[in-house]
């Protein structure tokens, strides 16, 4: 790629980017969220067209104006959010997009899939519906789809974001095998460890520009980080000790069956102490969302007890809990869908929870204005003014507004689900610091996370969920990533703490 530039409106997503990938190497593109990695590879895969710049594949200059062109050039993209059709089988998903035969010849397709599988060491059932697959299996289908079309340049966009450590290891084995077969692999990631582990060369992007391209062997994680962020950063997260042994919230035998009759929570019991961060780990969809929403009162179909400050709140609605003076704050994973109203201003979002307690028929915004200003100052939110619509802010600032509103109501308990998802390192650490500050004030915090490194360094205890059950609870100080990874796959830990 030579001198590639691309703008969206006024934003320069990519500015004169050049790099080259050799045959049979793993090339990592490293950068924070918003550095322009995805935009860049989307141009390689034909989804976007570059404004300026040239792309050469196998020495030939190409114009990739649609995904079809890119596939024809032997470029295969494995998107971060899988582009699979849930109601179809693996085989059908792999066969999509071919047009050279009229009849759908499943026998031939299966034979070809089997050949690829044995060549690279995949295991897959071609007749299984994608809907019934685990994340790891879905990813295998995505990779097969690309190989089936004969791609020899593979692009993987944040492939390990949703995988357990074990699944990631398996993926890396496959990538190395593909590399040995002569494929070129472009790996997009913001995880330093992965870069160090399997890449041959690494290109660091920041604010849409190439900072440098270096050989992995000749660099260190510290050096890469400072290139990524642009300044020296400390990557450590503090963990103040837990002071009290007072239970804030206790969940007893909580079960939940959803509308389709599927058990989402299965006899869940645990305690959260004041001044403690209890982490929840688990594969996406193991019941974390349902648990959060049950505590908050949004989910109503549950059985069991939730004791908060001596009262069973399992039967109450969010507003009833609020009106009893019990303050549970909630930072949902879908921050713009459930946490905030995207098109409304910061002020309106801040007063969303208690505006109805005002007297009279007209809204008094002066309280909200004061609180909005307070939050902006407290968390250093970058915004033109307090009446700016929240969806026009960046991801980090949106999250700060939400966090600010929730802690501003002086809660006794805080539920957070993936609070730093999609945030750059700087904003993420600001959020961790704020959570620690709340913890020191004696608030009990439930932290649902996906990055095991963060969970291990931020939380006091980590509870692992699998298929709606609690597999076990470990002490974050002496647990390992591998141990938690195994538990996430449903294997009981040998020592279970209570």
């Amino acid at each position: 790629m030579v001198n590639i530039s691309k703008s969206f409106g006024d934003v320069k997503a990519n500015d004169k980017i050049s790099f080259s990938v050799k045959y049979g190497e793993i090339f990592a593109l490293l950068g924070e969220n918003g550095a322009g990695k995805s935009t860049l590879v989307n141009m390689l895969s034909g989804v976007y067209s570059p404004d300026i710049g040239e792309i050469y594949v196998h020495g030939q200059k190409l114009r990739l104006s649609s995904p079809a062109d890119s596939i024809a050039a032997g470029i295969g993209m494995i998107h971060q959010h899988f582009k699979l059709i849930e109601v179809m089988t693996a085989l059908e998903n792999i066969a999509i997009g071919q047009e050279h035969s009229f009849i759908l010849n499943k026998k031939n397709i299966r034979k070809k899939i089997d050949d690829i599988c044995s060549k690279y060491g995949f295991k897959i059932d071609p007749e299984k519906l994608v809907r019934d697959m685990s994340v790891g299996e879905k990813q295998t289908v995505e990779i097969l789809k690309v190989l089936y079309r004969g791609a020899d340049i593979l692009i993987l966009d944040e492939p390990t974001a949703v995988l357990t450590p074990q699944e990631s290891e398996r993926l890396f084995d496959i990538l190395i095998r593909m590399k040995e077969q002569g494929c070129s692999i472009i790996l997009i990631t913001h995880k330093l460890q992965e870069v160090m582990e399997i890449s041959d060369r690494v290109c660091v992007l920041r604010h849409g520009r190439v900072i440098d391209t270096v050989n992995t062997k000749e660099t260190t994680p510290m050096e890469l980080t400072s290139m990524m962020v642009g300044k020296k950063v400390t990557l450590s997260i503090e963990r103040p000790p837990v002071k009290s042994q007072e239970v804030v919230l206790e969940v007893r035998n909580l079960s939940l069956i959803d509308r389709e009759g599927i058990k989402k929570l299965d006899d869940v019991s645990f305690k959260v102490y004041s001044g403690e961060i209890l982490g929840i780990a688990g594969i996406a969809g193991s019941g974390q969302k349902e648990l959060c929403e049950s505590i908050q009162g949004i989910e109503r179909r549950k059985r069991g007890e939730i004791i908060f400050k001596g009262e069973n709140i399992a039967r109450l609605t969010p507003r009833a809990i609020f009106e009893k003076g019990l303050r549970i704050s909630f930072i949902p994973e879908d921050r713009l869908g459930m946490g905030l109203v995207p098109t409304m201003s910061i002020v309106d979002n801040v007063i969303l929870k208690d505006y109805y307690m005002q007297n009279g028929i007209f809204l008094d915004r002066t309280v909200g204005e004061k609180r909005a200003e307070h939050i902006i100052k407290m968390l250093n939110v970058q915004t033109p003014d307090i009446y700016h619509p929240v969806n026009k802010l960046s991801g980090g600032n949106i999250q700060k507004i939400l966090l600010g509103r929730e802690i501003d109501s002086n809660p006794d308990f805080l539920v957070t689900a993936y609070p730093t998802r999609g945030l750059d390192i700087g904003s993420a650490h600001l959020i961790y610091d704020e959570l620690n500050r709340q913890k020191e004030k004696g608030i009990g915090i439930l932290y649902v996370g996906e990055d095991l490194n963060i969970l291990l360094s931020l939380c006091d205890r980590i509870m692992v969920m699998f298929e709606g059950k609690i597999i076990g609870t470990v002490n974050a100080e002496d647990a390992t990533k591998e141990e938690i990874g195994l538990m996430m796959l449903g294997e009981k830990a040998t020592e279970v703490l209570q």
Partner: protein, 309 residues
């Protein structure tokens, strides 16, 4: 009830069959076209007019199909290329079609389909098959357009589930972004299948005015287009199930006439209401029982723009 009731039910179900099939194919491409009623009316009036002018059965059918296709093309332009709201565009198309057929049909009131055209679409017992007891009388002693309906259904089923292009089409409706990333020409697929849907709706309308009635009357469809849209859900977007849905509702459509033979009294209005009432009940039952199979194409009704972030 005798075999002749079922024979008549098949005849009454045929226009529904074409219309449902057309809408199934359209919706498989991810587009919800609520203009079925309008496209049927356009097909009905154009087919009838061409029949009077040319006295040729095939030209009249062709005219109706082209007219339906053009109406669908307008819808496709608006919803695919200009990304207009599909529901509103479809409703507008129905309103336009209703007006168009009233306007064009002003001077056609009381006109009758020419005899040679009636003859061309008259019952034509299939050799051998029509001699099967009961079934032969019901299904294989029919007009040529009824047979055409069977063939169209089977072809659509084979096309959707046994060809590579059919697989690609389903991919477009289920996950447009995935289909695009797989190199499928999404807009082309949408255009072609929306137009095929319109052609089938035009044919359904022509069947009503040329064969079923067969003279001109205002608003020949009488809401059948809407029933067809609802029956797509009943048929779970599966062409083979369209046969069941269409003929079942064909039976409901004519049950009123049949009941008049018997001595007990039910208000005519209640009986005329039957197909619509059953449609409502089916919609309620289907939406209350959310099963995993038989869900609509996941991206039904969504506009697609590749560079959207």
């Amino acid at each position: 009830m005798d075999a002749s009731f079922f024979t008549a039910a098949v005849v009454a179900g045929t226009p529904l069959l074409y219309a449902i099939l057309g809408e199934v194919i359209t919706e498989k491409a991810g587009n919800l076209n609520l203009g079925v009623e309008g496209m049927m009316l356009i097909g009905a009036v154009v087919g009838f007019k061409v029949a009077l002018i040319t006295q040729n059965p095939w030209l009249s059918l062709g005219g109706a199909m082209i007219a339906g296709g053009i109406a669908a093309l307008i819808y496709a332009l608006l919803t695919v290329s200009l990304r207009a709201n599909q529901v509103v565009t479809g409703l507008t198309l129905t309103i336009f079609g209703t007006g168009f057929s009233s306007f064009m049909g002003k001077n056609l009131m009381g006109e009758v389909v020419p005899d040679n055209i009636k003859l061309a679409f008259a019952d034509f017992p299939l050799p051998l098959l029509s001699h099967i007891p009961v079934l032969g009388q019901v299904f294989f002693n029919q007009g040529i357009l009824v047979y055409g309906g069977y063939i169209a259904t089977i072809l659509a089923g084979l096309y959707l589930y046994n060809t590579q292009i059919g697989l690609n089409l389903r991919a477009v409706g289920e996950n447009t972004a995935a289909a695009d990333a797989a190199g499928i020409k999404v807009s082309l697929y949408k255009y072609i299948h929306i137009i095929i849907g319109g052609v089938l709706c035009g044919l359904a309308g022509a069947y009503l005015s040329l064969v079923y009635i067969p003279s001109w009357q205002e608003n020949v469809t009488a809401g059948r287009g809407w029933i067809a849209v609802a029956l797509v859900i009943f048929c779970k977007w599966n062409p083979y199930r369209v046969l069941v849905g269409a003929f079942l509702f064909g039976g409901l459509d004519i049950i009123g006439f049949r009941l008049q033979k018997y001595s007990f009294y039910i208000s005519q209005y209640l009986i005329d209401m039957l197909p619509y009432l059953v449609t409502i009940i089916i919609l309620i039952v289907v939406s209350a029982r959310k099963s995993i199979s038989g869900l609509p194409p996941a991206n039904l009704g969504d506009s697609y723009f590749r560079e959207e972030r």
